[in-house]
């Protein structure tokens, strides 16, 4: 078998040309596309990580806000309860005061009414006594006695 050096060389040149062409026309663009894709993927991952970090940060902030809101709500509720207690105590105190005043007034009115009734009764009794006594005395008085009483009365007035 004869070795054809020329053909081998030609084949080698042919291979080199094909390899060069493939390298220039196919491998480099593919590599560039792959590199670009890889870069985009990395950027996507980074963006995703950043986004996740931001989301976590937002979650934390939201939880902080929620916690603060809850604390504030608790404080407001506590204050409202305290206010309600104070107001209740004040209202109770005022109600007791008013009740005592009403009771005192009622007692005073009752005493006054009792005194008025007693006074009225006493007055009626006195009037009755005077009427009866007057009738008895009047029936006993003669003209002479009347004159004598008028004289005594005039003396009394004179010395008054």
């Amino acid at each position: 078998m004869e070795i054809q050096v020329g053909a081998i060389l030609l084949q080698m040149i042919n291979f080199g040309v094909v390899f060069g062409a493939v390298t220039v026309l196919l491998i480099k663009p593919v590599r560039r596309i792959l590199d670009e894709r890889s870069r985009k993927v990395e950027e996507g991952i980074k963006a995703s990580e950043s986004s996740m970090a931001k989301e976590a940060n937002l979650d934390k902030k939201a939880k902080d806000i929620e916690l603060k809101a809850l604390e504030k709500a608790k404080t407001i509720l506590d204050e409202a309860r305290e206010d309600a207690k104070e107001r209740q105590a004040t209202l109770l105190k005022e109600a007791k005061k008013q009740a005592e005043a009403i009771k005192a007034k009622a007692q005073a009115d009752a005493v006054k009414e009792k005194q008025a009734i007693l006074s009225d009764l006493q007055s009626q009794f006195e009037s009755a006594v005077v009427a009866v006594a007057g009738k008895v005395i009047g029936e006993e008085l003669t003209s002479t006695k009347h004159q004598s009483l008028i004289k005594e009365g005039l003396k009394e007035i004179e010395t008054a």
Partner: protein, 70 residues
């Protein structure tokens, strides 16, 4: 002229009227007055004089009233 009212249970005779005038004069300090006589059996007995816003009550009814109030 001052009006002097005398209230009694019976009518005054002349002697008593004079005595009333004397007392009225003494109380008023002058003689310029008119005497008006009123009969009121409710006074029972005695005499009541009213003059210039003053009232002198020496009646039995008034005495009984005072006893009742005492």
């Amino acid at each position: 002229m001052t009006l002097v009212t005398v209230i009694t249970a019976i009518s005054l005779n002349d002697k008593l009227r004079e005595q009333v005038k004397k007392v009225a004069q003494q109380k008023l300090g002058h003689q310029d007055f008119e005497l008006r006589e009123e009969l009121d059996p409710s006074v029972i007995g005695g005499v009541k004089l009213s003059m210039s816003g003053l009232v002198f009550d020496a009646t039995i009814a008034n005495k009984l009233k005072q006893i009742g109030q005492g």
